[in-house]
């Protein structure tokens, strides 16, 4: 056990799974980098460094650099998964899903059902998500709702290094296609991460803070913000439970409902525009199945219904802040 960053946790999960199972391959743009160029091949380990050192250990057969060609990346990964490999494909930025979504939602997600249970597609699609990096509208989105609504996909959104490793190993060993979303703004976050491989089962929420007055459900990069809001509220004696579902599909409805049953109040925080967001989904689920527990209206804290802006002052205003979360909580407390 030692402290590791979110980025190191991802790297360690990839490395340990590639060592454990020779069927695990990585495929995507610039996982290696530098093929055909004059400098070092594989030095970068990806634009963010998740793959650092992997090319040296596993070579070009299992670290497959592709053209900038997302449909072919996902399609090839799908075909490889159908025929016995366990590919981990990368969309460098989730925003690039626009050019390959057919392969994801019409092909990968549906093979098993369309083929009457006669196919397995053990495929992981890794992609980075999140605003806050001044990367503007086409490199900053958090598109988990898009994937969550597709039957046949599973969606994981780790909010800390421990979860990043355990959820990625689970994703790689899972026999179903998994969308694994890495929050760019959390890459430097550090916590204790076991050195051994371990799996966090999908559909198991993490209760980061126990409380009795109000529940905040938050996802991905919004989790640390929710924790900050909860710490502020605690100063006034308000006891807040912070719950991270970890995966949006499957969703741990049971834990969310159990928490709301205890607290009677719910704030859902989602880095996503408001319409058809996970905030709306979770709020709807609780209104449907847990209305009798509620002492106050459910509050959703989301981004505005806009693309992600570039100017730092605008982007900062775009993301749900701890203060906004705190205010939403106060608005439903007596």
């Amino acid at each position: 056990m030692s402290k590791k960053t979110y980025l190191q946790a991802i790297n360690e999960a990839l490395r340990q799974e590639m060592r454990r199972d020779s069927k695990v391959i990585l495929i995507g743009e610039d996982l290696v980098g530098g093929h055909g160029a004059t400098g070092e091949v594989g030095g970068a380990g990806g634009p963010f460094g998740q793959m650092r050192g992997l090319y040296k250990e596993f070579g070009a057969d299992r670290m497959i650099d592709t053209p900038i060609s997302e449909s072919a990346i996902i399609g090839a990964a799908a075909g490889a998964a159908l025929t016995g490999l366990r590919p981990v494909a990368e969309l460098m930025f989730v925003d690039f899903v626009g050019v390959c979504f057919d392969q994801i939602f019409n092909q990968v997600a549906k093979f098993r059902y369309m083929f009457g249970g006669n196919a397995r597609t053990p495929l992981v699609i890794r992609a980075t998500i999140g605003a806050g990096k001044r990367a503007a509208a086409q490199h900053s989105q958090t598109l988990h709702p898009l994937f969550t609504m597709v039957p046949g996909l599973k969606v994981a959104m780790p909010s800390n290094p421990y979860d990043a490793k355990g959820l990625l190993i689970q994703a790689i060993r899972d026999d179903d296609p998994v969308i694994y979303l890495e929050s760019k703004s959390l890459f430097g976050m550090e916590c204790e991460v076991p050195d051994e491989p371990y799996r966090i089962p999908f559909g198991e929420a993490n209760i980061l803070r126990e409380g009795k007055d109000l529940t905040i459900v938050a996802l991905g990069a919004m989790v640390p913000r929710a924790e900050r809001a909860a710490a502020e509220l605690a100063k006034d004696g308000i006891s807040v439970e912070v719950l991270d579902p970890r995966t949006t599909s499957p969703l741990d409805e049971e834990s969310i409902l159990e928490s709301v049953k205890k607290t009677g109040r719910l704030v859902v925080v989602d880095e996503s525009p408001p319409r058809c967001s996970l905030a709306a989904d979770i709020a709807g689920m609780v209104a449907d199945k847990g209305f009798k527990f509620l002492k106050a209206p459910i509050k959703q804290v989301t981004c505005p219904h806009t693309p992600v802006p570039f100017a730092p002052i605008l982007e900062d205003a775009y993301l749900p802040s701890p203060t906004q979360i705190e205010m939403a909580a106060r608005s439903i407390l007596d």
């Binding site: 299992r62 053209p67 060609s69 399609g75 090839a76 159908l82 016995g84 499957p250």
Partner: protein
């Protein structure tokens, strides 16, 4: 012709089976026994059978929305197919897929695909598995002249070259993408020219004759199995019917439809083989009658079979294991 008599019988049997099966699909569709819509392979039998003739169950194909012929040519069971096309619980896909999604992975059939241009990227991946596992097997990506205009197909062609995988791209140019001709929809004249632009060898083949298709495919297999990278065939053929069963084809003249029938690959095969005295009339008749029986049995079985049960089947098989 270097084919044995048994091989010739098999080739004819497969082509005739596609023919009878598809005509029967049209008939059952008209009778209201097939839900939804369906696309038949009439007129293109020599393409599928020629391409798949040398493939084993361990070689993979990815198909199109017009996929019945590819399935049959790859050895998929016609009774399971007919059950599936009629949406029955015991169909190949449990009635969940239907005509446009028949798959049989045990036969190396990666699925019919209702997205035009859907299969080529997937076939590249299946070929990648063969390369990494060093199986010596190949993957074949079927698409049409319509698919040849899809970006996914260009990406797949390029990726196949870059990854140097044993994949064979087969473009069945039946002159129509839905209701519109290839001559209208294709910038430039030949699909093959585009493919060659990726640095990939591509042959243009007469798809109304089984023999040149099979021979071209032999060269393609020699190339890909010899680790020389991907290969492509543009197979020119005729679509006898409409885009879908029931398409009134107002966009095609009567004359064109009649002329298309002149390129029927089945009598052409029978004629050539008979002239060379390799198979007798009796042998052809025996094959045809056995095929008729098989399709009859498949249809009778499918008509009598049970539909899936919403209580148990609707939500089954979305995931291997969820939550």
């Amino acid at each position: 012709m270097q084919l044995s008599r048994d091989e010739l019988k098999r080739a004819y049997e497969r082509m005739f089976l596609i023919r009878v099966f598809e005509e029967r699909v049209e008939k059952e569709f008209s009778a209201g026994n097939i839900p939804g819509f369906t696309h038949v392979y009439l007129g293109q039998e020599a393409c599928a059978v020629g391409v798949c003739f040398e493939l084993t169950d361990e070689d993979y194909i990815g198909s199109t929305h017009r996929g019945h012929g590819h399935c049959i040519a790859k050895g998929v069971d016609v009774e399971g197919m007919m059950l599936e096309i009629m949406g029955k619980a015991s169909g190949l896909c449990g009635g969940k897929g239907g005509s446009m999604h028949i798959a049989d992975l045990k036969k190396g059939m990666l699925g019919a695909n209702a997205i035009v241009g859907g299969s080529p990227p997937i076939a590249v991946g299946a070929a990648l598995t063969q390369k990494l596992n060093k199986t010596g097997r190949v993957a074949v990506a079927f698409s049409g002249d319509g698919g040849a205009n899809q970006g996914t197909v260009f990406e797949a062609l390029n990726m196949a070259m870059v990854l140097h995988v044993p994949v064979i791209f087969v473009f069945e140019n039946n002159e129509y993408g839905e209701f519109t001709t290839q001559s209208y929809a294709c910038g430039g004249v030949h699909i093959a020219d585009r493919v060659r632009g990726f640095g990939m060898p591509c042959e243009v083949v007469d798809g109304t004759d089984f023999f040149p298709v099979r021979e071209a495919m032999q060269r393609a297999l020699e190339h890909t199995r010899g680790d020389k990278g991907p290969y492509a065939l543009e197979i020119q053929c005729k679509r006898f019917g409409g885009h879908y069963v029931g398409d009134p084809q107002v966009y095609r003249s009567e004359k064109e439809l009649v002329e298309a029938r002149a390129y029927d690959p089945i009598p052409r095969f029978r004629r050539a083989v008979s002239e060379a005295a390799l198979l007798s009339e009796a042998e052809f008749n025996e094959i045809e009658s056995a095929v008729q029986d098989r399709v009859d049995i498949a249809v009778q079985s499918a008509l009598a079979a049970l539909a899936p049960d919403p209580a148990t089947d609707l939500t089954k098989h979305v995931y291997v294991k969820y939550a």
